[in-house]
């Protein structure tokens, strides 16, 4: 228990000292000693984050391997994850080893697989979001009319209709332009400034040791 308290103190001390040194460096003039120290800190964190990603992926692979070996519920999906992950890594290793000969010499096969698999799947997923969004809008309309629903729906409809190139209805486009330029920009700026203020508040709480949730 005493060891834990010492380690907790060390963790809090690390957060505060490292955070303050980096903050001072980031706010200092470029090229100065504090700024160089901050750059170095960020570089260290990049490497730690890369190790964390590595640990996360190895954990994912071990979890799916365990599910497959124990033939748990959904093991075929775990097998798919393992086969694809290993195939991608193996293809990259073969690319690096420059193993391809003939017409494929110098070809980056792993990049082609990336385009065929990753890009296709992500595009298709982004495309079917359309149906979820339209269905959610339909459910909102069925939910009953309140002042806020009406404002939300009217703004959405004006923006959607404003994009249709209707003859003699340029006024819709003008209304849409004004809506986006004035009230939408005001609301968005207010939300973003609020998010920024929230980030600064939480950050200061962490740096003065008030928020220590990272220890749990």
């Amino acid at each position: 228990m005493r060891h834990h308290r010492l380690l907790d103190f060390l963790a809090t001390f690390t957060v505060i000292s490292v955070g303050l040194v980096t903050l001072i460096g980031l706010l200092s003039e470029r090229g100065s000693a504090p700024a160089s120290i901050a750059d170095f800190m960020v570089q260290l964190v990049t490497v730690i984050a890369a190790v964390a990603v590595l640990i996360g992926i190895l954990n994912l692979i071990s979890v799916h391997l365990g599910r497959f070996v124990r033939a748990e519920h959904g093991w075929p999906y775990s097998l798919v994850v393992l086969v694809v992950a290993v195939a991608v890594i193996a293809l990259r290793i073969l690319d690096r080893a420059d193993i391809w000969s003939g017409e494929l010499e110098g070809e980056q096969v792993s990049l082609r697989v990336f385009e065929a698999v990753q890009v296709s799947l992500e595009s298709a997923l982004a495309a079917i979001i359309l149906f979820s969004l339209v269905y959610a809008a339909y459910r909102l309309l069925r939910h009953g009319a309140t002042v806020w629903n009406v404002l939300f729906g009217t703004a959405a409809v004006i923006v959607l209709l404003g994009w249709i190139p209707l003859e003699n209805l340029d006024v819709l486009g003008d209304v849409r332009d004004w809506l986006v330029r004035v009230p939408v920009s005001a609301g968005t700026r207010g939300i973003l400034i609020g998010v920024g203020l929230g980030t600064v508040t939480v950050g200061i709480r962490v740096l003065i040791g008030q928020d220590r949730s990272y220890r749990s």
Partner: protein
Amino acid sequence: MTPADLDLIAGWASLVLTLLVFSYLLGDNYLYRIAIHILVGAAAGYALIVAVESVLVPWMNTTILAEQGDRDTALMTALRVLGAVPLLFGALLLLKASPRLGPVGNLGLAFLVGVGTAVAITGAATGTIIPLAREAGEAVGDDAVDGIVILVGVITTLIFFQYIAIERQGTIRRPRAFRALSAIGQGFVMIALGALYAGAILTSLAIFSDVVREQLQFVLDKMGG
């Protein structure tokens, strides 16, 4: 095998994977789940490759495995020790899995949190709060009426998101003036969210039509010989 054969295989793979994802429109099914697990496997593989090739290998080559050259031994030792520090902190994260040694793993996390917090504070202040507040103020100079609407919108939106209240006769309520301003702010937020929602629909519609066009084009090309 030729690059053209690779393109053909990639085209068919892309078509099959797109159809697997679109099968979700008929309801959650095993074809969709296979597609999602393929995505997870591929993303994990690529994330590992990027972490190793773009971050870890260059870092190790310039520190731990650096060539001595003209540098003296003390400098090289310092460089190697320094190179090992983030790897050690990263390795400490492995201990988070153990209930007994978990607090040791917090040290690695503490380093990440400390630097991350400093970067977040600087980014939020210099990249969001100051420029957006300045833009809102400058809008009044460009067009008085629109500028005032923008300024009122920004201020009332911020009031809508604050929860300062006072206790009066046993009930906790926000001051009346704040409630009125907050209602105006809520209106601006609703209009902004409605417009952003419409923007999301338009974007996904554009992606949907592009995906369908691309796959149909591939099928028609193959059918045409």
